[in-house]
């Protein structure tokens, strides 16, 4: 095997002619992550050995990251089981899904991972994660209007977490704030399983007129292919395949490619430039350059269009003049876009680019040859059928089976753990959970994000979902929530994935919006481990089934494998984002208790469910048993009630019940409204279970006495269990007969954790 770096493959340009004449040249395909059988297939498809440029392209396009070769057969279910809905305008497969939200508006949203890069260089990794997902949204023809970031880190007190978390947070803020995009939600969760494998997922949402949807298609022979935005440098060369497939095992040689550095200023002007270009309808098709850069953009545009493209690669503007074609094709330099423009529109396209100081270059032409051909100073270096790169990558049916330890894990229920019994013990537990890093106040993080810019943020951090006004005249808006619980999913991947969906769905409904559609980021360990693959198979099956029942189609998303160090995989962590619509954002429901004398109602059933709970985790370091029971019909009913209560102006507050149970939700709402509560627990429940159980399908609402009867009648009529549990009153969280905690003491516990850890 020769030296694996792509640079050395290309001392002289390896032309198609040369490749045909020298069939026996040894090629470093394995160092590029290409398996021997895949290499044989490439030779088969081409009828010769690939040129080094072609090999570079196949290696990135057929990587796990770009081809979804291990996940494809499971992801199919999202289409096969998709609920029959009329609002889905663009489904999975494009850069992002698009849904009809009413009027002439459409919304596009998607979540993606940037896990490994954020571990290597937290600031730039997280920053470019935001940049990448925002370009996906832009590529659909939409104005990006907000971002969200679900994050997972190792233990809060681990030294490496203190390297990774502050950098990731600064990176998200540094990039997103400079783009002028409000950050309206997300999560920060700690667990030892994420040490060495932090999860940095980024969601973006955009809005456009329905008529303005753009697709990544190169149609029309003779149309010009324009590369615009930043110049191409050596950023993240090989990142797409190498970063996505290498784990950080200290025994193996590190395959750490150069880091991608983002320039949010360039992306900001690129956004404004593109939107003016879209407004004048100057593009036939458009694609952003993300993972696999030019390789991916040219092949996907060509494969989805007329079928052919001629590219003069030496015309691509370079930041580093020493780059060779293979590197240019694999470069992941940020802030680049590729458009297909009719010859008549090229001049105007360039005028707008000049207005925004954006470099633009015609590098190619659409053809009807069915071939993607690239030349480098006259020599043909690529001549392939683009479909073989884009769509005919390998598909693996990876073996999977339920791991041998799953039974033991589920048998180790939390029933034997010692539970707080006295009022004092319950009080102490409330404070301990509220101050624990997972449930503590995240102001230290979210204050580094701008949630206000663009002036349409109706709800953001600290609320159940982020909410944006889309139309100032009608009040039409959207709500977004992301959720995912790795502990639940580890205990039972099928229901864990469903619980992630259920919680995000519930969060959206709690603010008064109607859940519409789903995006998911599936974070797992190595697909080569049958146990991990079983988790993946179960989680995707669970999510697809649940989406079918709830009528919320998956519109797109991302799979992130190889989140593991050595043999140890992270907890399977599907993060589910739910988008909802609200006709009038002034009808939204907040989570804060603000009305003195308001009645508190608990909606749903509470059972003794502590498997995977925050209590078991935080107090006992225990993970075992089964997660809370899933009842999707109940979730749907609860959502209907919450939406109706919001629409009809009955509710003064609503908050979903999840991690930490009823008491944590009450603590959060009380602190947010700076108003105490007196709680009288239902007599039939053990106080500990009533306060800390994480049974799903529940919410707590506050409403004026004058609305109580109308609301409880509605619940009873629809068959939703409802119980009066207290009143908003005073300056403490009091559970009658058990304990009372002054708001000041609660606030100190809840808000002190992050500044003490990271301030």
């Amino acid at each position: 095997m020769s030296d694996p770096s792509p640079a050395t493959v290309a001392h002289t340009v390896d032309s198609v002619e040369n490749a045909a004449a020298t069939p026996d040249v040894e090629q470093p395909y394995e160092a590029l992550g290409v398996k021997p059988d895949e290499y044989a297939r490439i030779r088969d498809l081409l009828g010769r050995r690939p040129t080094s440029s072609e090999l570079a392209m196949y290696s990135v396009m057929w990587s796990e990251h770009c081809s979804y070769k291990s996940s494809k057969i499971h992801l199919k279910q999202f289409g096969e089981k998709a609920p029959d809905v009329d609002f889905l305008l663009v489904g999975p497969g494009e850069n992002a899904g698009v849904v009809d939200v009413g009027g002439d508006l459409a919304v596009t949203f998607k979540i993606e991972s940037h896990n490994h890069p954020s571990y290597v260089e937290p600031y730039q990794g997280a920053a470019t994660g935001v940049g990448g997902i925002v370009r996906d949204i832009l590529t659909m023809g939409a104005r990006p209007i907000a971002v969200m970031d679900p994050l997972r880190f190792g233990p809060a007190d681990a030294p490496d977490t203190h390297r990774v978390l502050p950098g990731v947070v600064r990176g998200i803020g540094g990039y997103g704030n400079s783009l002028g995009l409000p950050n309206i939600g997300g999560e920060v969760v700690f667990d030892a399983c994420y040490a060495g494998n932090p999860l940095v997922n980024a969601l973006a949402v955009g809005v456009m007129r329905k008529s303005e949807i753009k697709l990544a298609q190169a149609h029309g022979p003779g149309n010009k292919v324009v590369l615009f935005g930043a110049r191409t440098g050596g950023d993240g060369i090989g990142g797409a395949s190498v970063l996505a497939s290498a784990t950080f095992d200290e025994d193996k040689p590190a395959k750490r490619p150069s880091v991608q550095v983002g320039d949010p200023f360039m992306e900001k002007v690129l956004i404004e430039c593109c939107l003016e270009i879209f407004a004048e309808d100057l593009v036939v098709g458009i694609q952003d350059l993300g993972a696999a850069g030019l390789s991916c953009a040219t092949t996907e545009l060509a494969a989805a269009g007329t079928g052919g493209m001629d590219v003069q690669l030496d015309l691509a503007p370079l930041r580093d003049a020493t780059l060779v074609p293979e590197e240019i094709l694999m470069s992941e330099s940020q802030e680049r876009m590729m458009a297909v423009v009719t010859p008549a529109n090229v001049a105007r396209f360039f005028e707008l680019c000049e207005k925004w100081d954006v470099t633009a270059t015609v590098i190619g032409t659409v053809t009807e040859t069915g071939r993607l051909r690239m030349t480098w100073h006259g020599a043909t270096i690529v001549d392939v059928d683009p479909k073989t790169l884009a769509h005919q990558g390998p598909v693996y049916e990876r073996p999977y089976h339920r791991p041998s330890w799953q039974d033991a894990l589920q048998a180790a229920t939390p029933d034997t753990l010692s539970r707080p019994k006295t009022g004092d013990e319950l009080r102490e537990t409330v404070l301990k959970l509220a101050a624990g890093p997972n449930l503590a106040d995240k102001s230290w993080v979210v204050q580094q994000y701008d949630h206000r810019v663009r002036g349409n943020t109706v709800l953001a951090h600290g609320e159940d979902s982020g909410m944006l006004r889309l139309d100032e005249s009608t009040g039409l808006g959207v709500a977004l929530a992301t959720d995912g619980n790795g502990r639940y999913t580890k205990l039972d991947p099928y229901s864990g994935a469903q619980l992630a969906l259920a919680e995000a769905y519930r969060n959206v409904a709690a603010t008064g919006a109607r859940p519409l559609a789903v995006t998911d980021c599936l974070n797992f360990g190595s697909p080569e481990d049958p146990a991990v693959m079983w988790q993946f198979a179960e989680a995707t099956r669970g999510l697809a089934d649940a989406c079918q029942i709830l009528g919320t189609p998956v519109t797109g998303g991302n799979v992130s494998f190889y989140n593991q160090t050595g043999e140890a995989a992270i907890h399977p962590t599907p993060i589910v984002g739910v988008l909802g619509v609200i006709d009038d954002v002034t009808r939204r429901t907040r989570s804060a208790f603000t009305g003195e004398g308001d009645i508190l109602l608990l909606l749903g059933d509470t059972r003794d469910e502590f498997g995977g709970s925050e209590w078991a985790h935080q107090v006992h370091g225990h993970l075992g048993g089964l997660p809370p029971k899933v009842d999707l019909e109940r979730e749907r009913l609860l959502a209907e009630v919450l939406i109706a209560g919001s629409r009809d102006g009955m509710l003064s507050a609503a908050h979903d019940l999840s991690d930490g149970g009823l008491i944590q939700a009450v603590v959060e709402s009380a602190l947010r409204g700076d108003m105490g509560v007196r709680i009288v627990l239902p007599g039939d429940l053990d106080p500990f279970v009533a306060l800390f159980s994480e049974s799903a399908g529940r919410a707590v609402v506050a409403l004026p006495r004058s609305e109580e009867l109308r609301f409880t009648d509605m619940c009873r009529f629809r068959g939703l269990p409802v119980a009066r549990i207290g009143v908003v009153d005073g300056g403490a969280v009091e559970v009658q007969g058990q304990f009372s905690i002054p708001l000041g003491e609660l606030r100190e516990a809840h808000t002190g954790t992050f500044p003490a850890l990271f301030g």
Partner: protein
């Protein structure tokens, strides 16, 4: 016809749309201005909005101040054109030497976005006349380089001349003498680190509120412009 207030968009401006909305909500006519265009299109006042002009890579506002539009704004301001610089706009005004001092990295080193309590110290500028002197208001801040600094003599002069227009009640960034905003000697040029344009609507303003304490910046100037044109 309602007075026209221009809002400059530099490449990298972020809160330009918000400033335009605030101008509209106050009742004035909102006019977008472009950094490369030295023509102010006859506007009666100018807002330099928040954001990261030209990426703010050298120093915040350092490159924007050399833009063609700023040549006109600087000349206009010297002739009495009312100019409000918000956040990055304040930084541009300092780099342009229309206002003294500079904004440097926050004491805590981090970008901070939160609702901030301020005291209006001067209601005698055209941008603050609708406030009562000493009025306490809530306006969001969001910046990484918002710490006002100037030499002691300059600070003393600002105080003596009543040119400190707003002070933080809980200084978020180590600003000298808790200064959140200042005016020039004539009172037509005001720079302010907090964002009044983000406190103009019940729906989107500071929570739990008050949500619309920023609106008087925009109604002040509107009333002034109406009165001078009458």
């Amino acid at each position: 016809m309602a007075p026209a207030i221009g809002v400059v968009t530099f490449p990298g401006s972020q809160d330009d749309q918000d400033a335009l909305r605030a101008v509209r909500l106050s009742g004035a006519s909102a006019v977008p201005l472009w950094h490369r265009d030295p023509d102010l299109h006859g506007v009666d006042a100018v807002v330099l909005p928040g954001g990261f002009s030209y990426g703010d890579y050298l120093r915040a506002g350092a490159i924007a101040r050399f833009s063609p539009v700023m040549e006109s704004v600087i000349a206009g301001a010297r002739d009495g054109l009312p100019v409000l610089g918000i956040c990055n706009g304040f930084q541009v005004l300092c780099e342009s030497h229309l206002l003294p001092g500079a904004l440097i990295r926050n004491g805590g080193m981090l970008f901070v976005n939160r609702d901030e309590r301020l005291r209006v110290e001067s209601a005698s500028t055209v941008w603050t006349a609708d406030y009562a002197p000493g009025q306490e208001i809530v306006i969001p801040i969001k910046n990484g380089e918002g710490r006002y600094t100037a030499d002691e003599r300059t600070l003393d002069a600002l105080e003596a001349e009543g040119r400190v227009i707003a002070r933080y009640l809980d200084n978020p960034n180590g600003s000298a003498r808790d200064i959140a905003g200042i005016a020039n000697a004539e009172g037509n040029v005001v720079g302010l680190m907090p964002h009044p344009e983000h406190a103009v609507e019940e729906l989107t303003g500071p929570y739990p509120g008050p949500a619309t304490d920023g609106l008087p910046f925009f109604t002040s100037i509107l009333k002034h412009l109406v009165s001078v044109s009458a």
